[in-house]
């Protein structure tokens, strides 16, 4: 055999490959976490708004109720 086969040093490509895999997965997990956190805040805000609106409706109903009784 005249040619000696030498295994090339491709370690840097390997490291880049694994690093990118971890980076992409980490970025996706982070995006899931951030979106979940924002949605939780939205749900909390909307729930408070609904409660406030319900309380407001209750107040107006109570104000109207004695007037109806007075007419009777």
């Amino acid at each position: 055999m005249f040619f000696q086969e030498v295994t090339p040093d491709t370690s840097s490509y390997m490291i880049a490959g694994f690093a990118i895999t971890f980076l992409v997965l980490a970025a996706y997990v982070a995006s899931l976490y951030l979106r979940e956190r924002n949605l939780k805040q939205d749900i909390d805000t909307l729930t408070e708004l609904q409660k406030a609106a319900a309380a407001e409706n209750l107040k107006t109903d109570k104000k109207r109720a004695p007037k109806k009784n007075a007419k009777k």
Binding site: T10, T21, V29, L32, L39, L46, Q50
Partner: protein, 232 residues
């Protein structure tokens, strides 16, 4: 939004452990391939991510059929989750393939049938999200998405079979050979161990992310519903 179920928390932890174990097996247990050197080790992750992504894309086509027959928006939410996670996994597949190609083929990218069909698949499903962004009505959005994903689903098997049907330089390592392939190799015991473990690990990681994404979709639907109620 409900708190995360215990089973999902456990699956999150298992996924992290499996990813680390798959990395360990790929780097330290699998023997080094003699011709390509260490870069061949990314093959285990390349195939592992491709495997789940392509199955995910075919699964979305099946979900399209279920949605179109039932018209239940729950299936649309599951479909979006499957597409999103598959797109992320397939992006990793393409990047890893490109990194491997640089020392093996002396180029980052070539318009080979396998690479071209893979790029088409990724772009088809990125366009899926662009289509959804353009539609406000949830039912209309779900209908269009289902039809689109049903047709788009054809691209996944075309990509899988492209190296078996067309003249290509992409190696066929599993179930077949390709005489014209550049960078082909056969797997020994340690390589097979790392390979099958990576397949298993990425399947579990996919299921975990998929479950998390479905929960996110449910929360999004709840917010949309609350906003509509607040408007009236």
């Amino acid at each position: 939004m409900n708190n995360k179920p215990l089973a999902l928390k456990i699956l999150d932890l298992i996924s992290i452990v499996l990813l680390l174990a798959a990395t360990y097996l790929s780097i330290f247990v699998a023997p080094m391939e003699r011709v390509m050197g260490n870069v061949q080790r990314v093959f285990y992750f390349h195939v592992g991510t491709a495997w789940v992504a392509l199955i995910g894309f075919i699964f979305t086509a099946a979900l399209s059929v279920i949605y179109l027959t039932t018209k239940n928006l729950k299936w649309d939410r599951i479909q979006v989750a499957a597409v999103e996670v598959s797109v992320v996994f397939f992006l990793i597949t393409i990047i890893l393939g490109s990194i491997w190609a640089r020392p093996a083929w002396n180029t980052w990218w070539t318009w080979d049938p396998r690479l071209t069909t893979a790029a088409v698949v990724e772009l088809v499903y990125i366009a899926y999200f662009m289509l959804r962004q353009g539609l406000d009505d949830p039912n209309k959005r779900a209908n269009f998405s289902a039809i689109y994903a049903l047709i788009g689903g054809l691209s996944a098997p075309i990509t899988f079979f492209s190296i078996r049907l067309f003249r290509t330089i992409h190696p066929v390592v599993i179930a077949g050979t390709n005489a014209e392939a550049e960078g082909s190799f056969s797997m020994s015991g340690g390589m097979l161990q790392a390979f099958f473990f990576a397949l298993f690990a990425f399947t579990v990681i996919f299921i975990d992310l998929f479950w998390n994404r479905i929960r996110l979709g449910e929360a999004q639907a709840k917010v949309e519903e609350m906003k509509i109620n607040a408007a009236y």
